[in-house]
Structures are given as structure tokens and as C-alpha cells.
């Protein structure tokens, strides 16, 4: 019985000789597969809406699949699945920059193009990275925001998402470097980096834990969309709103109450536009209008002209600080 099984396993492999596919230039809009970090993050639902808008404009097909765990392993399954479904371009928001790289490279060998959005992957594994805002700029804005909220002195903490998330880790690195290098931030100290694991419960618990563990904590930077509203809620429940200031990146609608109160600041962008741009980029890449080289330009629908920067990075635009005044213009 075992012998027959082995034969059965090997049969399909023997039936298909191994071949490598070249990446061809498409003549028409292709299928784009969006692969967010996690299926329960509404951020990516909103991005999808923007992508759908773009899809209606220029055609092609849009699929979105997401893993139920925020890990690389789970994402790899879906990368493979998208390749099998013969999409033209994969647009991935990476859970783990390096761990998904081999799978993406394999995808490229099968003729599928790869771009990343929101959270980058290893540069060698993708052609273009559509970033919502310049990473450095986001990090700097968050740090500046913390500086403003605390009066430039004291301890602050960072409540990130998962330990492997590329984008968050990049911002945290930048913040650490700026803290060390710039004399302006000499009196500001980073107490700890905690992880909210993209879970409401964990975010709330970690926020409270940070406050309890560091009695001199003045502010928390939460560069994670779900985390900032969760931390705000936790502090509110503990009666600490205003005593510990919050800032970070979060959907404006979810944090609007606290922005109006003044106990939190938010740096945000138009998420729907990010999805729109990503779709446009994907189609442009598939049709060989761009190839990811620095300096290339193309027109991304209603958003206008875009130029690709260094290392294949494409910036959506500057992020904005959300104030009570401009709160209305953020739909998410």
C-alpha cells in the first residue's frame, strides 16, 4: 500500500516537466491580487474600495485575499494561491519582509509581477513599493507629535503592531535613530516598545501595562491602526485620558472623539487613495509602462503624475496631522 502511495505522489511531478516562465508585457489590464496583512483589519477593506474605484476606471480584475494570522507563513499560502490563480500582479502588504521573499521570488519565476504596498517586503522580491507617506517623514511626524504633547521632556513608549511588521519596524528604527542623533530630542527617552498584535484586547492591556510599568510615562506613540483607538479606550476607562498623551497612526474616524478632546493626535492619510494608487501602479507595471526604476514617471488616474523614487519606492503623498479642523475630510 505504501509503495502505491509513493507512486501516486510522484506521478503529477513526473507528468509536468519543470519550466520557468518569463515575465511578459500585458497588452490589456490584468488581474491584480491584493494580499493584506490580516483579514480583520478594516484599513485594508478601505484600501480595497479605492482599488475598486481604480478598477472601474481602467478595467482589469481585482481579487483580495488575506490570512487569518498576521504571520509570514500564512501569507505565503496565499501568495502561492494567487500565483496558481494566474494573477498578473501581486500587491502585498508584508507581514514579514524577509520571510515572504522566497515565495515572492518563486512567484516572479512563474511570470507574476510583485509590488508591495503599506508594508514593504525585501527589495529584491518586489518591483515597486507603494508607500503611504515617506517612512522617515511619518516617523519624524510621530516623534515631533510626541515631542509637542510632552513638552519635549520625559519618557514615552511605543505600542507597535506585530513584532515582524516591516513598516512599523522601519518607523521605530527611524525614531530611535532620530532620538539618538538629534539634540532637540535629548530629553525625550524611549522606555519600551510593546506589541499589540493587532488585537483589541492585547492593545488595551499593553497600553495599561505600559502606564503601570513606567510611572513617569508621558506619551505613547501607537503606529498601528487598531492600536491607537484601543489605547485611547483603555486609558479612558482607567481615567487616565489626558494624563498620558497618545499619538500615532490611526483611522481618523476611529479616533475622532479623542482628537476633539485634545488628548490624542493623529497622523493620517487617505487610505482609499492608497488602494487606488496601488491598483494603478500594478496595471502600469503589468503593461510595462513602468518597471520600477528610479526616475520613471506615470499617470495614476485622478491622482496625477507620480515619480518612482529610490529603490523602487513610490510615495502617495505627505501625511497630514489630523486636527479638529480638518477632521471632516477624512472619510476613514
Amino acid at each position: 500500500m505504501n509503495g502505491y502511495l509513493k507512486l501516486a505522489l510522484l506521478a503529477p511531478a513526473l507528468a509536468f516537466p519543470h519550466k520557468v516562465l518569463a515575465q511578459e508585457c500585458a497588452k490589456e489590464p490584468v488581474t491584480v491580487g491584493f494580499l493584506p496583512k490580516l483579514d480583520t483589519d478594516p484599513y485594508f477593506q478601505v484600501a480595497k474600495q479605492g482599488a475598486e474605484e481604480a478598477q472601474k476606471e481602467i478595467g482589469g480584475k481585482l481579487i483580495q485575499v488575506a490570512p487569518s494570522q498576521g504571520t509570514a507563513e500564512a501569507q505565503i499560502e496565499f501568495i502561492n494561491s494567487l500565483v496558481s490563480q494566474q494573477v498578473g500582479v501581486i500587491a502585498i502588504s508584508g507581514n514579514d519582509a524577509n520571510a515572504v521573499a522566497p515565495a515572492l521570488k518563486r512567484a516572479a519565476k512563474q511570470g507574476v509581477r510583485v509590488i508591495s504596498y503599506d508594508s514593504d517586503v525585501a527589495a529584491s522580491a518586489r518591483s515597486i513599493f507603494v508607500n503611504q507617506a515617506k517612512g522617515d517623514s511619518l516617523a519624524e511626524m510621530m516623534l515631533q507629535s510626541a515631542y509637542d504633547l510632552t513638552g519635549g521632556e520625559g519618557e514615552f513608549a511605543i505600542l507597535s503592531s506585530t513584532p515582524t511588521a516591516t513598516n512599523q519596524n522601519a518607523w521605530i528604527e527611524f525614531i530611535k535613530e532620530k532620538l539618538a542623533a538629534d539634540p532637540k530630542f535629548a530629553n525625550l527617552k524611549l522606555a519600551q516598545v510593546a506589541y499589540g498584535e493587532e488585537s483589541e484586547q492585547v492593545n488595551q492591556q499593553q497600553a495599561l501595562a505600559l502606564v503601570q510599568a513606567f510611572p513617569d510615562l508621558k506619551a505613547i506613540i501607537v503606529p498601528a491602526g487598531i492600536g491607537l483607538p484601543a489605547a485611547a479606550r483603555a486609558l479612558e476607562e482607567a481615567g487616565l485620558t489626558g494624563k498620558v498623551k497618545l499619538t500615532g497612526l490611526a483611522p481618523a474616524t476611529l479616533i475622532s472623539k479623542y482628537i476633539k478632546e485634545g488628548s490624542a493626535q493623529d497622523i493620517w492619510w487617505n487610505v482609499s487613495d492608497l488602494g487606488y494608487l496601488t491598483y494603478q501602479t500594478a496595471q502600469a507595471l503589468a503593461q510595462c509602462k513602468i518597471s520600477g526604476k528610479s526616475g520613471e514617471t506615470f499617470k495614476a488616474g485622478r491622482l496625477g503624475e507620480y515619480t518612482i523614487g529610490a529603490a523602487g519606492e513610490l510615495i502617495l503623498g505627505p501625511a497630514k496631522i489630523v486636527t479638529p479642523a480638518n477632521l471632516a475630510e477624512f472619510k476613514f
Binding site: 500500500m1 505504501n2 509503495g3 502511495l5 509513493k6 505522489l9 510522484l10 503529477p12 511531478a13 513526473l14 509536468f16 516537466p17 519543470h18 519550466k19 483579514d39 481579487i63 485575499v65 488575506a66 490570512p67 487569518s68 494570522q69 504571520t71 509570514a72 507563513e73 500564512a74 505565503i76 499560502e77 496565499f78 502561492n80 494561491s81 500565483v83 496558481s84 490563480q85 494566474q86 514579514d96 524577509n98 520571510a99 521573499a101 522566497p102 521570488k105 518563486r106 512563474q110 513584532p163 515582524t164 506589541y195
Partner: protein, 334 residues
């Protein structure tokens, strides 16, 4: 292996294996006919690659469940040994040393499980629940939240490439080598008989001179070692040594083994069924993913299959056993 007269063949078959094989055929047939892109070299090759670690883990898990034990810590041992491997490699320990050291580390972790279960007599469910948390915690202590992804080329190549000239991924090769070994030991050696006796009636096994405690402890050590091999494979496949590798994999592994016809009560079950279950579940997950069904929903389908299969099994086993008894009588009359 002898495939004698047809009657002999039917008698040797297990009802469950037949059912699973049929389900596999139906599923794969459905995939070939109705899901474009299923039966491509790339897709099939990736199914095998993704299943590489689980395939390894089901081998010792089957043996453990047959002897009425369980090991919930398999995924944590995988993660911790992956971390150990990464650290060794990072410290420039040559592969020829790093590999056996990692496997030995896995064996040690398994030995701890084995000691608590076999010699202290603690229930394996709770012991491995504790070590599941503890081992992963140790992984975090070693490596924090970081990862080691600079690995020697031979390792990364092993993780990505296929066997020369074919589409069979290299990462499934450890399983292809170990699986027949396990199957032979279980079905054709005295040790296998002892395992079945130990699971079928631990007291009778003890009273027949079988060294029950030593056997159980050895199984746990073996489990740890195989988990370490799986840890190395995982690290290679993802080019990544990290403490949160394979989170939640233990439940998947246990589901496959149980679906494969191994009874939680012990003493019953064969690796053939488990292999078929592995193929079936991998194919189903793949088909669902190709139809854009998410991870949790895939899990739901698999949970339904597990329960439905056991319900079906309970209510129709008697029928098949009747056929088998008839066949056995016919044979001995001859």
C-alpha cells in the same frame, strides 16, 4: 509487501483507509475538473512544499496517539529548535555540526516531556500544554522578537529549490525518507507490535514484559528530534529563524492524525490513513484558497470534515466489520 489473491487484499484493507482514499479521489477529481489552475506543476509543488513540516510532525504524533499519549508542544519545539539553529548558524558553527546539534536539542526537549509523562506519570495533555507555552517562551527569551534570516546558501537553496529536473520541492524530501521508515517500524517490527499493545491495553503490555515507560519516553524523544528536523526545514523554507514560527500548527497536526483513523483511545490506526488524510486536507485547503476562501473559513470546512467523518465512521463500522469477518472465515476454511 505481498498483494496476493484479491480476497487477501480486501481483508487487509482498513475501512477507514478506503473511505479516505475515495474522498481524496473525489476531491482531486473535482479540482482537476472544476478548478482551473489546480492541477498545475506549480500548484502541486507548492502544496507539497507548504506541507513539508506538517508531514514530518504527523509521523511521531501518530505513534504517540496510538499509545494513548499526545504532544501539544510539537509546534513550540519546532520554533525553539528553529531559533537554536538560527543562533548556531549565526555564530558560524559549520552546518555539519549545527544540524546534529539542533536535532539533539529537539531530542532533549522531547526527553523532558517524556520524563514528566512516563516516569513521573503526569498526564501528557497537561504536561505538553505546559511545555508548549514554556518552550515558545524560551524561544522568545533567546531571540526576542527578532529573526535571523542570514543563512548559509545551502540552507536557503534547500528551502527554495526542487529536486533537479522535477517539480518536487527539496523540503518534502525529509518526509519522503522518514515516512516509509516509520511505516515499516510500525507495521513490521516487534516495536510496532509493542506500540499497538501499549495503546490497546497498557496494563496487559506491562504485564507481558513490555518496557512501557521506556517506550513512551523514547517516543517523546523521537518526537522532539523529528520536530527539530521540521524546525530546520521550516527555517530553510522561509529563510527565517524566529520564535513565533509555526504558531498553532499543533492543532492542524492533531486533526490530520485523527482524521487519518487513529483513535484517541489508543491501540488503533495506521500511517497509511494518516498520509491519505494529509493529502486530503492539503488538497482541500488549496482548493478553498484558490476559490478565495480565507484561513478561518478553511478551518471551518476541515472541522466539519473531521466531525462528519467520525460520525460516519461510528455508524457504519459494524457493516464493514461484518464483511471482513466473512472474508476471514472464508480464508481459514480454505
Amino acid at each position: 509487501m505481498n498483494f496476493l489473491r484479491p480476497l487477501e487484499f480486501w481483508r487487509r484493507l482498513e475501512f477507514w483507509d478506503v473511505l479516505l482514499a475515495a474522498a481524496c479521489l473525489v476531491t482531486i477529481g473535482y479540482g482537476i475538473l472544476f478548478v482551473p489552475n489546480f492541477f498545475t506543476a506549480f500548484n502541486l509543488s507548492q502544496i507539497a512544499a507548504s506541507a513539508s513540516e506538517k508531514a514530518l510532525l504527523i509521523l511521531p504524533m501518530t505513534l504517540l496517539i496510538i499509545v494513548r499519549e499526545i504532544d501539544l508542544s510539537v509546534a513550540s519545539i519546532l520554533a525553539l529548535t528553529s531559533v537554536v539553529f538560527g543562533l548556531l548558524v549565526q555564530a558560524s558553527v559549520p552546518l555539519i555540526l549545527a544540524l546534529p546539534l539542533t536535532i539533539a536539542a529537539g531530542g532533549l526537549l522531547g526527553a523532558f516531556n517524556g520524563y514528566l509523562t512516563a516516569f513521573l506519570g503526569l498526564p501528557s495533555l497537561v504536561v505538553t500544554l505546559g511545555t508548549m507555552a514554556m518552550y515558545r517562551g524560551i524561544g522568545y527569551i533567546f531571540l526576542g522578537t527578532g529573526s535571523i534570516n542570514v543563512l548559509p546558501d545551502s540552507v536557503t537553496d534547500f528551502g527554495i529549490d526542487n529536486i533537479a529536473g522535477t517539480d518536487i520541492p527539496l523540503t518534502i524530501v525529509p518526509f519522503l525518507i522518514l515516512a516509509p521508515l516509520f511505516a515499516i517500524v510500525l507495521q513490521r517490527t516487534p516495536t510496532g507490535k509493542r506500540l499497538y499493545a501499549l495503546g490497546g491495553n497498557p496494563m496487559a503490555a506491562l504485564y507481558s514484559g513490555i518496557a512501557a515507560r521506556r517506550l513512551t519516553a523514547t517516543l517523546f524523544v523521537l518526537s522532539g528530534a523529528v520536530c527539530a528536523i521540521a524546525g530546520i526545514v521550516y527555517t530553510a523554507r522561509l529563510s527565517n529563524a524566529r520564535a513565533n514560527n509555526a504558531l498553532g500548527m499543533e492543532l492542524d497536526v492533531i486533526t490530520i492524525v485523527l482524521l487519518g483513523g487513529v483513535s484517541v483511545f489508543g491501540g488503533k490506526g495506521r500511517l497509511t490513513g494518516v498520509f491519505l488524510a494529509l493529502i486530503l486536507l492539503s488538497a482541500i485547503r488549496n482548493l478553498l484558497a484558490l476559490n478565495q476562501v480565507g484561513g478561518d473559513a478553511q478551518g471551518m470546512v476541515i472541522g466539519l470534515i473531521l466531525i462528519a467523518s467520525l460520525l460516519l465512521g461510528n455508524y457504519s463500522k459494524s457493516l464493514f466489520e461484518l464483511i471482513q469477518t466473512y472474508a476471514s472465515f472464508r480464508k481459514t476454511e480454505a
